[in-house]
């Protein structure tokens, strides 16, 4: 088992439930290949630094997991087939120093997920509201 991190960018032109369904599907891909998800971090809707497939924004979601190295090829193949993903980035945490950093990131993600559990729904709504005002300003 080796530690990995996957960042996926989901297409923005979907409702919140559809995005959650896509993310659930992504997590299922990992678990069905023998991965153990340690923590997830929903970064939410963000502006992309450059357009990907003509999309200016994307929904960022980070998954920390550990899996046998051989399964990564299959997971990435599935991600490539998935048309709802704009982009995915797989990072390997191999050396002792990197593994320590991975543990730190997992702790941070867990803490972030635990503390604003109640605030999660308004927190999700707040950036959207900002974005709409930005769009109006533009």
């Amino acid at each position: 088992m080796r530690h990995y991190e996957n960042l996926v960018i989901v297409k923005p032109a979907m409702t919140a439930e559809e995005i959650q369904a896509v993310i659930k599907n992504v997590e299922e891909t990992i678990t069905s290949n023998g991965g153990e998800i340690a923590a997830t971090d929903a970064m939410g809707m963000r502006k992309l630094a450059y357009p990907i497939e003509k999309n200016e924004r994307g929904y960022y979601h980070v998954i920390y997991y550990s899996v046998a190295p051989a399964a990564i090829a299959e997971i990435e193949r599935r991600f490539r087939i998935n048309e709802d993903l704009l982009r995915f980035v797989t990072i390997k945490y191999d050396t002792n120093r990197e593994v320590a950093a991975w543990n730190g990131l997992v702790e941070k993600a867990k803490k972030a997920a635990a503390t604003p559990a109640k605030e999660e729904t308004p927190a999700e709504e707040a950036p959207k509201a900002e974005e709409t005002t930005e769009a109006a300003a533009e």
């Binding site: 960042l7 960018i9 970064m43 963000r46 502006k47 992309l48 630094a49 450059y50 990907i52 994307g58 980070v62 982009r87 980035v89 990072i91 120093r97 990197e98 320590a100 950093a101 730190g104 990131l105």
Partner: protein, 87 residues
């Protein structure tokens, strides 16, 4: 006169802060090593040590792949504060 230093003594900011690992997701920390056109700043200008320069260059390349940081900035897109519009 000849013994006087021409330039300020350079030091690695990451060594001073004892950075062991950089995360490609916090864009604000990458700012120091990026030019206003998002190019990776050379070691001779930032004073980074070899180890940290290698780290920062891989981290910036990851951030580019994840669309946190652009690959290229055209003349139209140059802005005075490049990290303002992100996030």
């Amino acid at each position: 006169m000849s013994e006087k230093r021409k330039y300020k003594k350079r030091y690695c900011k990451y060594c001073e802060a004892k950075v062991d690992f950089m995360d490609y997701k916090d864009v604000a920390n990458l700012r120091f090593s990026l030019s206003e056109r998002y190019k990776i700043m050379p070691r001779r200008l930032t004073g980074n040590c070899k180890r940290h320069q290698d780290m920062i260059s891989t981290v910036i390349k990851r951030a580019r792949a994840a669309a946190f940081v652009p690959y290229v900035v055209t003349r139209k897109k140059v802005v005075p504060n490049p990290f303002e519009n992100l996030k």
